[in-house]
């Protein structure tokens, strides 16, 4: 009996909230009117992005995109918030649609979906909101109001493979991937090809953790690889890769002479690898999501939004690159990397996108 009355109490509470909500609804047309007023402030161009589950402090992909948007905002005197630039973070994949919609409703002129995982959501919202301008990174959405951005990750990873193959002392290097999706497989394929091209005798230990947000998994995987004799690990695993850095740093702390290296991904992860005065970061495969985001935003601002098109960034246009190794890679190796780079840019080497 007591239960039933408690239930009644709660339902009354809910009923009252629904009633109140109904009162609130009358205001909706006004809100809609606000967004309709948007074109009056023609000069201001606003841009926003939705992260996948990584967040803008993932020290990688989402962070890089956010930096691009911030830079775009600064260069165009925008402020964070409505009518300027902003981001929303997703807690689960059910949130993508809502977050995209929220930003469109707030009147942002261009909304980025960051990451392959948002493909479905971007496609759906693009159909529902044909007036909105959307862009997606790392996936192709064939809608007239979506600009798709891809990177030739394999080319950057190829150079990382060359660096790893030439720098390894144990003859064994590792690759830690996030989920087995095409983007990450391009990293793997490029890395393998780079190692193969520079020194076919070097063994590559490949492991996928199945997640982009599980640093502890990255750490255990790195632990296994280092223990099995690998001395350089290239990670393409977002925040999971932070665990790879943690493992390498712990080993370096215990034994300053330990020969452990990490190759970072997406952004220059040099700061990630600092251990006292030394650093475990060999280099990073830069994926200039920031440049791409900046480019697309600029195009859209100038009325040249590449809707329906797919834009691919590679070594040639510095969409991907190797970060400054700050002395970790020797001069002669750097020279060889440069050679490979020129060959790729010249089209003499075509780096495979998939692992055979």
């Amino acid at each position: 009996m007591a239960k039933r009355k408690f239930g009644l109490g709660l339902s009354l509470l809910l009923a009252s909230s629904t009633l109140l909500a109904a009162c609130g609804e009358e205001e909706t047309p006004e809100v809609a009117g606000d967004t309709g007023d948007e074109p009056t402030e023609e000069e201001v161009f606003s841009v926003a992005m939705v992260t996948d589950v990584g967040g803008i402090d993932d020290k990688s992909f989402n962070q890089s995109a956010w930096e691009g948007i911030q830079r775009f905002g600064e260069d165009n005197n925008l402020e964070q918030g409505d009518g300027g630039f902003d981001y929303l973070q997703s807690a689960s994949d059910a949130d993508y649609n809502t977050n995209l919609n929220n930003l469109i409703r707030r009147g942002f002129d261009l909304v980025f979906g960051i990451g392959f995982l948002m493909e479905g959501a971007v496609a759906e919202i693009a159909q529902q909101q044909p007036e909105a301008q959307l862009a997606i990174i790392d996936a192709v959405v064939e809608e007239p109001n979506v600009a798709s951005v891809l990177f030739k990750e394999q080319e950057g990873a190829f150079l990382a493979g060359v660096a790893a193959a030439l720098m390894t002392e144990t003859g064994k290097v590792g690759f830690v991937g996030g989920m087995e999706i095409p983007v990450i497989e391009r990293f793997e394929a490029g890395f393998r090809a780079g190692v193969e091209a520079a020194n076919p005798d070097v063994e590559v230990d490949v492991q996928y953790t199945g997640a982009f947000d599980k640093a502890e998994l990255g750490k255990t995987t790195a632990n296994r690889m280092y223990s099995a004799g690998a001395d350089i690990i290239f990670h393409a695993a977002g925040a999971t890769g932070n665990g790879v850095f943690t493992e390498a740093k712990e080993r370096k702390e215990q034994d300053p002479d330990a020969n452990v290296w990490v190759i970072g991904v997406d952004a220059d992860q040099y700061d990630q690898g600092a251990v006292g005065d030394t650093n475990v970061t060999l280099t990073s495969v830069l994926k200039r999501v920031d440049n791409a985001v900046y480019d697309i935003s600029t195009m859209a601002m100038n009325g040249e939004f590449p809707g329906g098109e797919t834009i691919v960034y590679g070594l040639e246009d510095e969409g991907v690159a190797l970060a400054d190794s700050r002395g970790a890679i020797t001069e002669d190796v750097l020279a060889q990397i440069e050679e490979f780079k020129q060959q790729i840019v010249a089209g003499e080497i075509t780096v495979p996108e998939t692992v055979e």
Partner: protein
């Protein structure tokens, strides 16, 4: 204090307390709590789109809550709802893309497939519990991991190497242009009706059938039930199977309604685990589960608007919503204390 006032006062007090503590946390962290709660309210009830999305979010919570509650009534702790939901999600999506049939056959078939997959995932721990006394908590937790990775692998197999299936055929979809138009293109789908039917089904099984009586009896006391001539083993397996079926249907809601596809997952959806809290909040009764799911779903969905409209970081939002739920859950403690005090008075 009369019983009626206590009954009304306790949940209200609990929510108010939760909101207060949440506000303090926002203030201490340097954010505007009033703007935060306004954003939360707006995020749940702000406009028709949000109301639609909130109901959509509530749908799988109801089913996950039912699954946990049902097993609980039979004395079993089903931590495996998450895994059962994931296999159900896959099964429904698979049926949705693999064949094209008239809607009257296709949609029920997809939901049934999800229920069957969830039931199978519940059957295994049930069997192990009944025959070998392996604790269901251990087995169901492990089955979650198996579900996650098996489904990821299966998606690759059925799609030939991709990490996402095609969209399901419209004939298997729970989506409704009518509901979407009504709610300004939210993803509100007919799943809520399925969920509410399942609420009635659970009530009917538990309160109106002999099987339900036996299940509850086993839940209260296995030995007494055995002594009374009930087949305890059979009832344990049955409880897990039905529980798993509810969870599987929860997965179907995502597969046929919210997403219309299934994609590889990097981690658990969390719906199944939240289902435990939903069931306990609802005191394992069907109506209670609906209320618990409403609270959970509304907070979960409304919270998305807090970073959007009030610039409160997701981490703080997570803490605040957790605290509100915590206080609502703790309201039973408040109630218990009040009732105990009242009883003492009567005894004197």
């Amino acid at each position: 204090m009369s019983n009626r006032t206590t009954n009304l006062l306790v949940p209200v007090l609990a929510v108010v307390l939760g909101l207060l503590v949440g506000a303090i946390i926002m203030w201490v962290s340097g954010y505007d709590a009033i703007a935060g709660y306004a954003a939360l309210w707006d995020g749940i009830f702000g406009d028709l789109y949000r109301v639609g999305e909130t109901i959509r979010q509530i749908t799988p919570y109801i089913l996950a809550g039912l699954a946990v509650a049902f097993a609980f009534r039979a004395g079993l702790f089903n931590i495996g709802v998450e895994g059962q939901l994931i296999v159900g999600w896959f099964a429904a999506a698979y049926v949705g893309v693999a064949v094209e049939l008239p809607k009257v056959i296709h949609l029920p078939l997809a939901i049934l497939a999800a229920a069957a997959a969830g039931a199978l995932w519940g059957f295994i721990p049930g069997l192990l519990k009944a025959k070998f006394h392996v604790h269901e908590v251990i087995v169901t937790i492990m089955m979650n991991y198996i579900a996650l990775h098996v489904v990821n692998a299966l998606i690759e197999v059925v799609t030939g190497g991709s990490e996402r299936t095609e969209r399901i055929f419209p004939s298997a979809s729970l989506r409704s242009p009518f509901l979407e138009a009504l709610t300004d293109y939210s993803r509100l789908h007919y799943g809520i009706i399925v969920a509410l039917i399942m609420v009635v089904v659970m009530w009917f099984i538990l309160d109106k059938t002999t099987t339900g009586f036996e299940l509850k009896s086993v839940g209260f006391n296995q030995h007494a039930s055995q002594y009374a001539g009930m087949k305890v083993d059979r009832n344990i397996i049955l409880a897990m199977v039905i529980s798993g079926a509810f969870a599987g249907i929860g997965g179907a809601m995502e597969a046929l309604g919210t997403f219309e596809y299934v994609s590889s997952k990097g981690g658990f959806t969390g719906i199944g685990f939240d289902g435990i809290a939903v069931a306990l909040l609802g005191m394992n009764t069907p109506i209670g589960v609906v209320l618990g799911a409403t609270l959970f779903g509304s907070l979960k969905y409304g919270a998305l608007n807090m970073p959007n409209a009030a610039n409160i970081p997701v981490e703080i939002v997570g803490i605040v919503t957790a605290i509100i739920i915590y206080f609502v859950a703790a309201s039973y403690v408040i109630r218990l204390l009040i009732e105990r005090a009242a009883r003492k008075k009567e005894a004197k």
